[in-house]
């Protein structure tokens, strides 16, 4: 007969309330993490998912792709830098479009198929390969839809759907550089040439993208190169958003662990008399410790199930305008972390149990 199970059965309200409290805390951690990830993804997913090892901006852009303007001829110069195996232009601008019957702002990216700078995260269809085709993330578009850019008037057919490829939290469409140039020129008439915003590059397998990026920065005038992860971290505002959410998630996590630890410590102190009796009649300390540990595991696992259900329901029910998805790896990570740290917090209780003197059951001390 399990002491842990028997106690839980006979103290359903107490353990129910604890499980409820823990599940709400895990729910908060999961929801905040999911929203944070969705927000960051919507802001910079396009760069995070760029199929390239590094990216190069104009110096004056201050690490912001939207502010960067470069002459397309710089691509050849970058491609010739030692360590670069391929380089290709990436261009982007914000315009309006007729999306599923309504006018909306959209972000348009131009890239070269089968070259550095193509998007990743294709969930359906294919990437565009010829003029007039787009792949899109967001906006409610489906494959086969025709989207008209405004004021360019360019009509684009959706051939692929992407996930996690948005930029600036806008529906984001990817097309070939030729189509991009046409739309850009129609939107900004009178320009002598269509500028590109950045150059994406690949390095040889095993080469250090950061070192190659530094070489590009030093060899090519007026440009700054970054390994892709460096570029993502440097996007203005992203670090602040990540840190703010990180603090919220971290505090919720810590409070959750402290609540669990204190609860079981209080429970243990309340049970010192029966625990002393159990020690006196021949129960070992490890067995009592296992009782507390198994109760922690049970409470956290049930609370996790409830929290996952709540999170999935919240994600379905919330209309944030962001492409919110709950990652299984996040659930697993949070649940395992809560479990591990809860058991560590439970060590306070186990330490108290280990100090029980069985002789006190007969008042010999």
């Amino acid at each position: 007969m399990g002491l842990a199970g028997a106690e839980i059965r006979r103290a359903k309200l107490r353990f129910g309330l604890l499980t409820g409290a823990v599940s709400l805390l895990i729910f908060l951690v999961l929801l905040l993490s999911t929203l944070s990830s969705a927000l960051v993804g919507a802001l910079v997913g396009a760069l995070e998912g760029l199929n390239a090892d590094g990216i190069v901006y104009a110096d004056f852009a201050r690490d912001n792709i939207a502010a960067s303007r470069m002459d397309p001829s710089v691509v050849t110069s970058i491609a010739s830098v030692d360590g670069v195996v391929a380089a290709s232009a990436v261009a982007t601008f914000t315009t309006a479009a007729n999306l599923t019957g309504a006018q909306a702002d959209v972000q348009v990216f131009g890239f070269s198929p089968n070259a550095p700078g193509a998007p990743q995260g294709l969930s359906d269809g294919r990437l565009p390969t010829t003029a007039g085709e787009i792949a899109i993330d967001g906006g409610g578009a489906t494959i086969g839809d025709v989207i008209t850019l405004d004021p360019a008037g360019t009509s684009l057919t959706v051939v692929g759907l992407l996930r996690g490829a948005q930029f600036n939290a806008l529906p984001t469409m990817y097309t070939t550089l030729d189509t991009y140039a046409e739309a850009f020129a129609l939107t900004n008439p009178g320009l002598p040439f269509v500028p590109i915003n950045a150059v994406a590059f690949d390095v040889a397998d095993g080469a250090d993208a950061s070192a190659v990026a530094q070489r590009i920065s030093s060899e090519i005038p007026d440009v700054t190169g970054y390994a892709l992860d460096e570029a993502v971290a440097l996007i203005p505002g992203i670090e602040s958003i990540s840190q703010s959410f990180g603090i919220l998630v971290g505090l919720t996590f810590v409070i959750g662990i402290v609540v669990i630890g204190f609860f079981f410590l209080i429970l243990t102190v309340q049970k010192l008399r029966p625990f002393t009796l159990l020690r006196a009649i021949g129960t070992s300390t490890p067995r009592l410790a296992a009782t507390v540990a198994s109760q922690i595991v049970l409470v956290v696992l049930i609370a996790s199930l409830i929290a996952v259900g709540l999170t999935l329901a919240a994600v379905q029910g919330l209309n944030t305008g962001l492409p919110v998805t709950v990652q299984p790896s996040l659930i697993l990570g949070v649940v395992v972390s809560v479990l591990i740290f809860s058991l560590l917090a439970g060590a306070l209780s186990i330490r108290r149990i280990a100090r029980i003197d069985p002789a006190s059951a007969v008042g010999a001390r």
Binding site: M1, L3, A6, E7, R10, A11, R273, P274, T276, L277, L278, R279, A280, I281, G282, T283, S284, P358, A359, A361, V362, G363, A364, R365
Partner: protein
């Protein structure tokens, strides 16, 4: 059995708390032997050392000096881990208070101790039911301790003490929280169960009226243990 032929042999056992000027001798060279099947009383006022003595005998407390042997086991030589096992397998305890696990039913309190010695489930259930029947508690088996009267709780504790078929049953002030009539009933029951099963029992009490149910009486005063030859003279 030990060399003396008694089941329990206590030789020159002392217990001193503290050191130097603050040292307090709770038990001073106590010596006693108890045969198998005997039920003896340990009398003495509060603080005399009787609880210290049964704690040492039951493996709950380490002696400062001296030896305790139960059958072929030298209790005072056992490690902390072995003492835990010794208490589960060889000793049954009936304590004065905090006697039952509050979140286990009467039957579960008995079954739990069987798990400590890994008794097969079915055999444990049969023995628990049999003991509860003998103790008049068959209809209270599913009740939690808080739903039982003081006398019923003590009877459940007696059942638990006998559950693992121990060699020695140690009873600490079993009548302390009971009225006289109920106290007598409990001690009579205790004697019957110990005698019927051929166990050895030591009962700590300060209630002289309970002495008549025991075979022999020991008295402790200020840590000194003596055998009382004529219990009828006690209290006079």
């Amino acid at each position: 059995m030990n060399d003396s032929g008694s089941l329990l042999q206590v030789n020159d056992v002392s217990k001193v708390y503290g050191t130097g000027h603050t040292a307090v001798t709770a038990l001073d060279q106590a010596t006693m032997s108890v045969d198998q099947g005997e039920f003896v009383a340990l009398l003495g006022p509060s603080g005399s050392g009787k609880t210290t003595l049964i704690s040492i005998v039951g493996g709950l407390l380490a002696a400062t000096s001296g030896t305790v042997t139960l059958g072929d086991i030298e209790v005072t030589a056992l490690s902390r881990k072995d003492l835990t096992r010794f208490r589960a397998e060889r000793v049954g305890f009936v304590f004065q208070s905090a006697n039952l696990v509050p979140f286990l039913t009467a039957r579960e309190n008995l079954l739990y101790v069987a798990t400590l010695v890994k008794t097969p489930k079915k055999a444990a259930q049969q023995r628990a039911d049999q003991l509860l029947e003998e103790l008049g508690l068959a209809d209270r088996a599913k009740n939690l301790p808080e739903q039982l009267s003081g006398g019923e709780r003590q009877r459940v504790a007696i059942g638990r003490a006998l559950m693992n078929d121990p060699d020695l049953v140690l009873v600490d002030e079993p009548t302390a929280s009971l009225d006289t009539a109920l106290g007598r009933q409990v001690v009579q029951l205790l004697r019957r169960e110990i005698k019927d099963r051929g166990k050895t029992g030591i009962m700590v009490t300060h209630d002289l009226r309970m002495v008549e149910y025991t075979d022999r009486v020991f008295e402790i005063l200020d840590g000194h243990l003596t055998h009382v030859e004529s219990p009828s003279t006690l209290g006079h």
